[in-house]
Symmetry: C2
Subunit: 144 residues, 2 copies
Amino acid sequence: MLKQQVADIRAFNRFYTRVIGLLNKYILNSSFTLPEVRVLYEIYYHESITAGEIVQALGIDKSYLSRMLATFEKKKLVAKKRSGEDARILFLLLTARGRKEFEMLDAAQYSQIENILKRLSSVDCEMLVTYMTEIKKILAKAAT
Amino acid sequence: MLKQQVADIRAFNRFYTRVIGLLNKYILNSSFTLPEVRVLYEIYYHESITAGEIVQALGIDKSYLSRMLATFEKKKLVAKKRSGEDARILFLLLTARGRKEFEMLDAAQYSQIENILKRLSSVDCEMLVTYMTEIKKILAKAAT
DNA sequence: GATTATTAGTTGACTTTATCAACTAATTTA
DNA sequence: TAAATTAGTTGATAAAGTCAACTAATAATC
């Protein structure tokens, strides 16, 4: 029955909002904020990304990002390289230090998930991953 | 392999963060903020809930909630009733107006999900709900 | 049964997150 | 070459969230 399905999905959304919230909480104990980590993530996995692309990808304000990048530059985590072809564009890249810092965060987030999985049987782990992957696939269909 | 499982779960988390973000975006066009809607939800579905229980359920700060409830009271959406047994405790309840406002929001969120399900086959709908329910069960085990 | 500890909630001060509009500098177009 | 676009910066400010100290009431214990 559709009505019950909608209710179940909303229940999952509330539940999972809380899960994500708890996982993110730990980031708040790091020296970075949540949007900062997301920005570092984008630069780490797409070196030579532009500020505009991050604005698109994360849906954040360009002025907000501009200031965030300025503090990253001050801390020598991110460097900017002006494009030769279009001098309006700045390519962003992590410095060695930026990569190192991000990798530490990334590793901590990894072990946070790992600690959850450790509490589960291997069958439950497999099922969890399978269900998540399937949900992604199904929702991707709805998005087209 | 555990490593891949962790990576898959993190990919799901990034994916689902966006899903929830898109669903929540509409709330931002309402006259309520996201945490406000969550608080109204809690009171609506558990009349005679206390502030402390909401803090527990949603993981929000008690001072933040305290101020939010004050604005709800000012707008005549929420009323407080001091417990006779323990005068430290305030029970929360929605006024008729609060219930009406929440029901409008709730109906809009319902049809938002409904619109997504309409784009899926009934098998996909059922699978989606099943997977979500199973994920909740599995993660609940890990939480104990 | 007075004193201490605990609990529920409030308040003040603050930080983080986010937005808007005006601006600079470079590039494209007409 | 002037006008329009584009990428990003800066100033001002609002909204969201947090922390710690506080009040008021109750419960615990000596």
